[in-house]
């Protein structure tokens, strides 16, 4: 591993954000005096868990907690707080419930309900409008809870807004841009002004502009209040997910990534069912750096986890065995007081992690080999064996494998090839509809709008034909590198950034030397590579041609370089990377690795943590059946 000359600085304490949020929450809860029920909007249960436990809620008068659902009848006390995202859907549900309660109260069936709606992360005018239309505006009090970035771990912050991706990239609504900008503002207030600013992509640029205007909000107190503060973060990267769709669509092979793909990690918390824990009740586990064993394995390539776990198991066993050698009562007391508790803890999580690994192994080898899936993906990334890839996709359709995974491959194929040739494009889509149902047609329209799955533009295919020798047959032939004069924009970018490592012979996933290890040494995540290159020179100098090929708008803001270079402060080695539209655990792992090699500390902020499947799931049109 490349030793870094400079000592890496400490991470700023992102848990401060939790304290701030907690205080706000308590204040809001106390605004309704006495006992009350709390009704949480969808997707808010887990994030709230990270802010305040059930105990805290109870201390501040929360009696029962419900989840907001349609047609629910809440039997609780006569004071109620709703905590929801400001969507019209939520507000309508609430309005219905309030109306129900009103009728009940009029009939004298129960006391009049005191009702408060708290919108998070902010209150929107539309909500008032809906309340007005539903005729309950006067019956409720509204407020807002500025809950934006939630610390998931010591280096991960998340807005827990998976809908950002659809809302911004597909429906072009800027609803959440404000939230992102103000969350950045919040970061500045806690950790001081951030001197270097890089924005990649349209959304990032928008946020950046909005952010610049922000200090004037709140009567200019803020700008004043932070100028005197010491900076703890040196750089901010704002990256649109659209800059790099390829990375999230690749199968993850790090331990943490696989856990997320197989079990789903919610707000840093995972739930294991019977097959893992062997117990009837699902077991919840917090996945943070505080868990020693997890901290050791989370960033490893999956193949490298089992050996570690078995070693660790032996260690724990020998720890237990120590009890036979204990001689004095005092030793024994020591053992019980210190070692035993740790051992038990380790034992418990070891069992779970091993169980999880087994489940992952069995799931991944069921049906078509996982290895084959990976090979197809890597072929796509390298731009070779297209026909084989298409055949593979067809086979998956024929055999009715998980359709989101198949869709993922289709998108990956299109992304790496600048689209799919017209004939195959139509036939694959038709086959998909036949296999999975016609309702997927709308999803294809969405994917096209996003540019995730499209038809290859004509000139490309002509060029490729021109380069190879023959007429129609050549189009179906496997394009090999030599015969092509044309390369897709992804391939061009990949080549100039050296995303595909050439030297795969000496690859040892146990001792990685390069970020590409997170994809088994086959591919370096584009997003992370861009961060690395930009950080190298603190400018876009090296990556500008690539950004041009991929047509990514960019923007940066920096202090005068002279002053900046002379600044010996450590905070310049703390980097915040903010993904708009979500990021994967693999990317987080890659950045952690980059930090370790180059002596940086990365904090990753994101609108939500995604996997390829979750990303696509956001843009599928769900049909009620």
């Amino acid at each position: 591993m490349a030793a870094s000359s400079e000592q890496a600085p400490d991470l700023p304490n992102v848990y401060l954000l939790r304290h701030v949020a907690k205080d706000m929450l308590v204040h809001l809860l106390e605004s309704v005096q006495g006992k009350k029920d709390l009704v949480l909007g969808p997707n808010l249960m887990r994030p709230l868990d990270r802010i305040a436990g059930a105990k805290l809620l109870r201390e501040h008068g929360v009696d029962k907690i419900f989840k907001l659902e349609a047609n629910m009848d809440i039997k609780g006390c006569d004071q109620r707080i709703y905590l929801v995202h400001p969507t019209m859907f939520n507000v309508k549900l609430i309005a219905d419930q309030v109306n129900q309660e009103k009728t009940k109260a009029q009939q004298g069936l129960r006391k009049k309900l005191v009702c408060k709606i708290i919108f998070t992360p902010r209150k929107l005018h539309v909500c008032d409008k809906v309340l007005e239309e539903e005729g309950v505006f006067g019956d409720v009090v509204t407020d807002e809870f500025k809950l934006d970035l939630i610390p998931i771990d010591q280096d991960i912050l998340s807005l827990e807004l998976p809908e950002y991706f659809r809302d911004f990239f597909l429906e072009e609504s800027q609803m959440w841009q404000h939230t992102v900008a103000s969350s950045l503002n919040g970061i500045q207030q806690l950790f001081g002004p951030i001197p270097c600013f890089y924005a990649l992509g349209k959304g990032a640029k928008m946020v950046q502009q909005m952010f610049e205007k922000m200090p004037s909000y709140g009567l200019g107190h803020w700008s004043k209040s932070i100028t005197g503060m010491e900076s703890e973060i040196g750089h901010v990267f704002l990256i649109d997910r659209s800059v790099d769709y390829v990375t999230p669509l690749c199968s993850q092979v790090t331990y943490e990534g696989l856990l997320d793909e197989v079990f789903g990690i919610q707000s840093g918390c995972i739930e294991f069912g019977h097959e893992v824990s062997g117990r009837d009740q699902p077991v919840k586990l917090m996945l943070t750096s505080q868990d020693e064993i997890f901290e050791e394995i989370r960033n490893r390539h999956f193949t490298n986890v089992f050996s570690f776990l078995s070693g660790k198991a032996k260690e724990v066993q020998s720890g237990y065995d120590k009890r036979h050698q204990l001689e004095s009562v005092r030793d024994m007391k020591d053992f019980v007081a210190n070692d035993l508790k740790d051992l038990k803890q380790q034992h418990k999580s070891l069992a779970l992690f091993i169980g999880a690994s087994e489940v992952i192994m069995s799931r991944k080898t069921k049906g078509i080999d996982f290895e084959e899936l990976l090979r197809v993906e890597y072929n796509m990334l390298e731009g070779v064996s297209r026909t084989e890839s298409i055949n593979y996709i067809e086979e998956r359709l024929n055999r009715q494998f998980n359709c989101l995974q198949t869709l993922r491959l289709l998108c990956l194929l299109s992304l790496t090839q600048d689209g799919i040739p017209p004939k195959e494009y139509k036939s694959l889509k038709t086959q998909f509809l036949h296999a999975e149902g016609y309702d997927w047609m709308l999803t294809f329209h969405n994917l096209k709008k996003l540019g995730l799955l499209k038809e290859q533009a004509d000139q490309h295919s002509y060029k490729s034909i021109g380069g190879s020798k023959g007429g129609k047959g050549a189009k179906m032939a496997v394009p090999s590198f030599g015969s092509l004069t044309w390369k897709s924009s992804f391939q061009t970018a990949s080549k100039s950034l050296k995303l595909i490592p050439k030297d795969t012979e000496n690859l040892d996933l146990r001792f990685p030397t390069d970020m590409s290890y997170v994809f088994g040494g086959a591919y370096t995540p584009l997003s992370c590579k861009l961060v690395e290159q930009i950080l190298n020179k603190c400018s876009f100098e090296d990556v500008d041609p690539v950004l041009k090929t991929l047509s990514i708008p960019r923007f940066s803001m920096m202090p005068a370089s002279a002053r900046f270079k002379a600044d010996p402060n450590k905070y310049l080695r703390v980097v915040l990377v903010y993904f708009l539209g979500g990021c994967t655990y693999s990317e987080i792992t890659a950045l952690r690795f980059l930090g370790k090699v180059k002596g940086y500390k990365f904090i990753i902020a994101t609108t939500s943590i995604i996997t390829g499947a979750r990303l696509l799931d956001q843009v599928t049109e769900v049909t009620p059946k």
Binding site: Q177, Y217, G220, Q400, Y438, M441, T623
Partner: protein, 832 residues
């Protein structure tokens, strides 16, 4: 200065002193007027007393309302044009309240500008008001009225006028002999005397009869007074007995017989330590202390009394005086013969001023208590009204400080600052005779507000700057008030006002231009408002006002500029309400951001609207998508098909042939499915094509499946996969075998093995082994568990790699195979 005690009057153990605050500037005779004065050195309002007027002048003359500062300087006067005023009073924000006999309350500001009006309700209106009491609660001002039906109505907060009717006093046939409002623990109660009976009426409509411990029998309580802090009560009987006790009537402090059968004109508390009764007819003030001590003051002219937190103001035709208990610390310093440290220090300082060595002697005497002495002098200075004596005391404190090593300077500095502020506002041009105690209770921000209300903008700004109050809370806020006042000056050009405002205010933090613009709009100057709004940097403030000014287009573009979705929504929804739908679509079409936002709104709110919008824009692709979505919300199959047909038409218009084609197919499939459901009586609707065929095969309907295959041009490969999987799942091994022989499998025979194994039928799987392509043979044998055969085939094919693959699949129970393979490998190696 030896005369410091000259105006002191002993009242029992303590002293009272009377200080002259101002020589009144006015030339008024209070006799002619009803007077209302606000506490905390507030303004004085006068209105002709009609009872006295009518006696003198016949005819209906409209009375005049005068407002004076505490120094008797006229602030304004105006002719009263409304109904019959029963009582004037002041609110805690120094608004003039005029309560009429019909229960109407008119609110004016200190400059006599009408602000608003509210009513105390129809019941009050119908029964007419007899008497009014205006009272202060913790931070609001309330009004209580007694109507001609002898009921009391209370409004606790004039900012939020909700009127409550208090309980009825049993058997009250005449006006109560006296009544008062007591405000304690956030509860407002009325204490009503029906001759010698006392009743306490509370909010909840309850009453309690009270007993009061009076030594001699009482015929009637004809006057009562509650102290400033609502803790003490004084009652006056028709026999002239003055009863002093606690407000809950539980404690009696003293009874004092004034021997006056005449009802006092005013009965007031002087702070909390004594009670003062005033008889206008006698021009006499009588102060009674809790231990039956008394002091008498005589006046030549009528006066009016104002209760303060720490004393009593006495306003006469010519002078304005303040009567207070001499504060203990002042008493200690100045009392003749006092040996208190403060007194000694004061003496020392005086001697020092004269250059006398006795200064040293005095200092020595209080050496140990010097810090206390300094404190006393500082504190004492705060209670002095005359700058001269303030200075003397502060000088003494400063002198004493020299002998101390570690004194924290804050108290001294703070006191100097406060006294400067107090002296500035006490100046007769300002006329706010506040004491130090009053200022502390009032707080500094409120004092600044009061200066602003009086339009003493420069003084307020200077005080803020002097006290280093942050600009946003202090100077710039005052400046904004000034600007609001400025825009009301109708005589001045818009241009000039805008310029002068922007010059003065610049971009000071904390100035809200929108607030000023709003004011300009309120006074009917939209042009000026627009001009001012240009200076407003915050879109969130700008936009609502622009909408109010009906400049929606501008509002929309400003909102978009800000990037704040909420603002955009606000404008868009507002526009939608105001404009015709067509105009509205036209407007937002030119603004992509707004357009996208509206689409999002429609998507959640109303799909139909969205469809219309796309139709209007000839966006057939999206319209088609909407139709498809609509289809999924429909229940009936016919309407679903209708929707899809409509969608197909849209896609055709959009030249999306593929979408049109698959939509057509979808309709076709739906029709098939329905037909089959009818014929076979099993559910097929909503299944995908693949699933439908799968289901059919499973149910042994091979013919129908074939029809679908043909109809939808399903490729052989897929159909084979589907069919063998369905057959295997159904366990129809015969059919599977038969099917495998119909023709050469387009997908090879490996899948046959695969599906058999998936359904745990090893025996059937082995049937197909022979037909597998040679290159896959090894793998297939491994799959069915025939490791030995696999190894042999690999050996025949001389493929070491495959041999290794077989080896890797060997477990502990395959020892013989392992040895065999090792043998084969060595043979292969040898041959090479």
């Amino acid at each position: 200065m030896a005369l410091a005690t000259a105006d002191w009057n002993p009242l029992g153990e303590v002293f009272y002193r009377k200080t002259e605050l101002y020589q009144m500037e006015w030339m008024q005779d209070l006799y002619k007027y009803n007077v209302a004065t606000a506490p905390y050195g507030g303004p004085i309002a006068l209105i002709q007393d009609e009872s006295k007027l009518v006696a003198k002048v016949q005819g209906n003359i409209k009375p005049t309302v005068y407002i004076y500062s505490a120094a008797g300087r006229e602030i304004t006067r105006f002719t009263w044009n409304s109904g019959h005023v029963i009582q004037l009073g002041w609110s805690n924000t120094e608004d003039l309240l005029c309560v009429q006999d019909d229960g109407g309350v008119l609110v004016y500001d200190i400059f006599g500008n009408f602000k608003r009006t509210f009513s105390l309700g129809t019941e009050v209106k119908d029964t007419k008001v007899l008497e009014v009491k205006i009272f202060q609660t913790a931070n609001t001002t309330g009004i209580a009225v007694l109507t001609s039906t002898y009921r009391i109505f209370v409004c606790n907060n004039i900012e939020d006028p909700r009127v409550r009717r208090l309980a009825e006093v049993p058997g009250l046939q005449a006006p109560p002999s006296s009544w008062a409002i007591i405000n304690q623990d956030r509860q407002t109660r009325a204490l009503v005397a029906k001759e010698n009976e006392l009743f306490l009426l509370d909010h909840g409509g309850q009453y309690q009869q009270q007993t009061v411990d009076v030594s001699i029998p009482v015929e009637s309580f004809i006057e009562m007074s509650v102290s400033f802090n609502n803790k003490y009560l004084a009652l006056f009987t028709n026999t002239g007995l003055l009863w002093i006790g606690s407000a809950d009537l539980q404690k009696v402090y003293c009874e004092f017989n004034t021997k006056s059968a005449v009802r006092p004109t005013q009965l007031c508390w002087c702070g909390t330590g004594s009670i003062v009764s005033y008889w206008a007819e006698l021009n006499l003030l009588l102060m009674v202390g809790p231990s039956k001590d008394w002091v008498k003051y005589s006046y030549d002219t009528p006066v009016t009394l104002v209760q303060e937190i720490d004393g009593l103001r006495i306003i006469g035709n010519d002078t304005h005086e303040f009567l207070q208990r001499v504060p203990p610390v002042v008493e200690e310093i100045f009392k003749i013969g006092s040996m208190a440290p403060g007194a000694m220090l004061y003496e020392a300082s005086r001697e020092f001023g004269k250059g006398s060595q006795r200064a040293d002697e005095y200092i020595r005497m209080i050496k140990d208590k010097l810090d206390l002495a300094v404190e006393q002098c500082i504190e004492g200075a705060g209670y002095e009204y005359e700058p001269k004596s303030q200075k003397a005391l502060l000088r003494a404190a400063s002198f004493g400080k020299c002998f101390l090593t570690d004194v924290r300077p804050e108290t001294f500095v703070n006191m100097c600052q406060m006294l400067r502020v107090l002296n500035a506002v006490r100046d007769y041009t300002v006329g706010l005779p506040l004491t130090y105690t009053q200022l502390q209770s009032l707080t500094l921000p409120v004092l600044i507000d009061r200066l602003v209300v009086r339009r003493h903008y420069p003084l307020a700004v200077r005080i803020c700057q002097y006290l280093k109050i942050p600009e946003a809370d202090g100077a710039s806020r005052i400046m904004a008030h000034w600007a609001c006042y400025k825009v009301e000056q109708t005589g001045v050009e818009d241009e000039a006002i805008a310029r002068s405002i922007s010059q003065k205010l610049g971009d000071t933090p904390g100035v809200s231009y929108s607030e000023i613009a709003n004011k300009a709009l309120d006074v009917g100057r939209p042009e000026l408002a627009t001009r001012l709004l240009d200076y407003e940097p915050r879109a969130a403030e700008q936009v609502p006002l622009l909408m109010k000014m009906k400049k929606e287009q501008l509002a929309l573009s400003k909102a978009i500029e800000s990037g704040d979705t909420d603002l955009m929504y606000m404008v868009i929804l507002n526009l939608k309400e105001k404009m015709s739908l067509g105009d509205f679509y036209m407007t937002i079409r030119n603004m992509p951001v707004a357009h996208a936002l509206y689409l999002q709104y429609c998507r959640q709110e109303n799909l139909k609207n969205l469809q219309d919008l796309y139709y209007q824009e000839d966006n057939f692709q999206e319209e088609g998508d909407c139709r498809v979505k609509e289809c999924y919300t429909e229940e009936r199959l016919e309407s679903r098909i209708d929707c899809l047909m409509a969608a197909m038409e849209c896609y055709n218009k959009a030249r999306n042939e593929w979408a049109a084609k698959v939509t057509e197919e979808q309709v076709k499939l739906l029709k098939y499915q329905r037909k089959m459901e009818e014929e076979l009586n099993k559910p097929y609707l909503n299944l995908s094509l693949h699933r439908t065929m799968y289901q059919l095969v499973k149910e042994n309907n091979h013919k129908l499946a074939e029809t679908l295959k043909k109809e939808f041009k399903v490729p052989d490969r897929r159909f084979w996969w589907l069919k063998i999987r369905a057959l295997a799942e159904a366990g129809d091994w015969m059919e599977l075998d038969r099917f495998s022989k119909t023709k050469k499998s387009p997908i090879g025979y490996e899948p046959f093995i695969e599906v058999c194994m998936e359904n745990h039928n090893r025996f059937e799987a082995t049937k197909y082994l022979t037909r597998v392509a040679p290159e896959n043979k090894v793998k297939c044998h491994v799959r069915v568990g025939q490791l030995k055969e696999a190894a042999e085939i690999a050996f025949q094919q001389r493929n070491e790699e495959e041999l290794n693959f077989v080896l890797s699949k060997c477990g502990p129970m395959h020892k013989d195979v392992v040895t065999q393979i090792t043998g084969m490998k060595s043979q292969l190696g040898a041959k090479r």
